[in-house]
Symmetry: C2
Amino acid sequence: MRFSQQRETIINIIHSTKIHPTADWIYRKAKKYIPNISLGTVYRNLKQLEQDQLISTIFDGSVARFDSNMERHDHLKCKICGSLTDLTLDYDFKSTVKQKFNFIADEIEMTIIGTCSKHN
Amino acid sequence: MRFSQQRETIINIIHSTKIHPTADWIYRKAKKYIPNISLGTVYRNLKQLEQDQLISTIFDGSVARFDSNMERHDHLKCKICGSLTDLTLDYDFKSTVKQKFNFIADEIEMTIIGTCSKHN
DNA sequence: AAAAATAATAGTAATCATTACTATTTATTT
DNA sequence: AAATAAATAGTAATGATTACTATTATTTTT
């Protein structure tokens, strides 16, 4: 993977926020630095960064959001404001599903949906 | 909600399978009974059934799948064959997130990703 | 049982997120 | 400095889903 100003900018943008931005949000931010950057470039780089395990993709309903936090963690999703917040819960279901279903678990995605502290 | 043969057929199809079908899969099945049924009709009814809490929607990556199992449950997703299997794990994180984050949890979505028993 | 009211449909067009394509540009190697 | 090939911009294409509208079917009223 060769250096490019576009990719560098995209990486910086993702690392600068905790909001788990969409491709379009990243694109609009990136345009402030590189006005003629293309949305395709954003998507292509996001896919590449995910393949190289530098970011991960969260599917929030039908749109993809991108996360620079590569530690194992879960999410709180607020129904009111749509915010997605990181948290880390303690559990281990990998051994359970191996025993009960002979299923070899690689990762566990957990999203807790409800109302965040801002609205109560 | 008034009766319609189309909706009745869609409900029967969803209840007849455990594969968590997509809208398109339901549409192709439904055409065997109602050859000129429209894909829009399938989507409109699926949305309506979800609103009435008769089915639920699972977002599998970027495509929606539909589930007639309305009991609280989790999913095992196989990376090899793409299968999505129901299971029910025992946990309670609602009280934890209320205490730690003042977050009022309504539901928890958990998908365990890995390799199912067919491939090992 | 016929007429009136309106929910639901088929068929098609539009939308939105994402991916594919291609000629050109840019980073790296020779 | 020239050669090589990865990356880009801009645009077209795709696939899932939603919106629109004239017509059809179900339910209610008479």
